[in-house]
Amino acid sequence: MLHLAIDEPKSFQLLSPTTIGEALSIAAEHGRDFSYLAGGCDLVDQLKHQLTMPRTVINLKQIAELRGIDKRADRVRIGALTKLAEIERDDELAPSLAALVQSAGRVATPQIRNMGTVGGNLLQDSRCPYYRRAWYCYRKGGMVCDAHHGINVEHAIFGGARCYTVTPSDLAPVIVALDGLVHVRGAGGTRTLRAEKLFVSPDENILAMHRLRKDEILTAVELPLRSARRSAFIKYAQRNAGDFSRASVAAALNIENGRVRDCRIVLGGVATVPWRSGAAERAIEGSPLSSERIEAAARAAADLAEPLAHNGFKVGLVRKLVREALTQLSV
């Protein structure tokens, strides 16, 4: 009998290793027919809609070495299984990594923040409705993007190339803005990626949102702590809770002698990857955070946007976000 049930996963076996090495060896046994489970917020949804149908699910929740926030003098190492709610409630992180704490607190709803993990948030799959539902899009191996000429309210205004989905993660622009490092472990050993390099644009690989290989596990995110580094995160969603961002911004900068140094302005929800706006950074770098320079940076950020039929509002939203974030950092 053809199995056409909706909202019901195909049966799978659940394995719960207690070390990363054990998880990797189980993965090696199952070839490509498995999925890693962390918080489950994205994976269980995908299993239920039969978007992925692995025969084996490897539960990483029992692995202690993936947990915990390790605070050193010059850096913070956040285990991939750390819950978003733990970051949100961490008072020690708040002054030095303001943007991270703000973004963790803006993800979805309190229930999801108690379930969702840092690693899962960074590696979650596209939320494009045309990908998640009945259309046979490029990202599923198809040959048309119905979102491009459909209702593309939540789609990309930067860097769209056949696929116009946006990065759904709220932490992604933040770890890019804070110069984070991503630690990964796979069958071939460990490697470390710069946060920017974790994400893949559709013109490079339209089937993937991130650069991890099938067997690799994101073990931790490492963020440098720099004295006097200011950062901010702002997100606009259709509703103030429970929605993915229509657009968000993470900004980080130092102020030396009244002038901006080392500015990072990264936009979320406007491109398939966290979109670092070099034009906005150049507009504000080396100058004081005056309202004229902030306005110039806001305009530069939205300058080369290519909106689709229904997401023209994102151009104004990018300007608004950059303006608000820099204004917040100027006081």
Binding site: L4, A5, P129, W135, G150, Y236, R239, A241, K314
Partner: protein, 281 residues
Amino acid sequence: MHGYAAWMWTALRSMALPRRRGALAMPGISDFHRDDPFRNPLFAKVLRSPFAHAEVAAIDASEARKLPGYRGMVTAADEPDIHGDRRLLNRKARYCPMKVHPSAEQLARRLSKDGGLVGLGHYVWNPSTQAWGAAFAEVEVDMETGIVRVLRYVSGHDVGRLIYRRGAEAQVHGGAIMGMGFGLTEALIVDPNTHIPINGSYIGLGPMTALDYPEITPIMVESPAASGPYGAKGLGENPVFNAAPAIANAIYNASGVRIEEIPFTWDRVFERLRAAGRLAA
């Protein structure tokens, strides 16, 4: 068999039901009710109140009696058992679809005897029995993005007699939140090319959360009506209806553009602002 497959099977089976008249219709032997040769046809008009639950004060049939060809009229007074419960029909207009058969038979018998135009009239309607309400919204429209935020919301309702104040106010709160979601975020979005809904699940449905709506101020107005218990009137759905129109008017007042279609989403408001040349660039 699960969900969709079972549904498909049922649908296919129901399509295969035999049509008995089909065989006669093919060679043109069958007759249809439209082909019946009516001689001296009778025309009847069934009259019902345009307002559900309205108190029917009187039935004014004077105009009907003046019409050419008028033959007779059946009112509640003529048919004591027309709906089983005479009081219902006499005083209040109600939906009563299940009990219509015996009275329809009586009506048909009477028509076959007398013939002719039976009746035309209208209810004399007592407006004091209706529950009225008004909503007031103060909004902020971002002229750069089309984002609409409701800052304050006041909803006033005529409840007849206020019996339980906190319950009534909670009803207004709930209705206002639903109505604002109806006006601003909630919609079934259908892909224009494939006609498949793109948000056919709880994700993307968009009912408002506690972080989205503003302070809601309910106002209760009492004007007791004879129709309800202790003079009370209905306050069920009323608080929902006027939220979206109030927001639409407030958007017009704030930004100068009329949005004709709910919900007033960012992209829709943005598009109207752009078309009107009012976009802040």
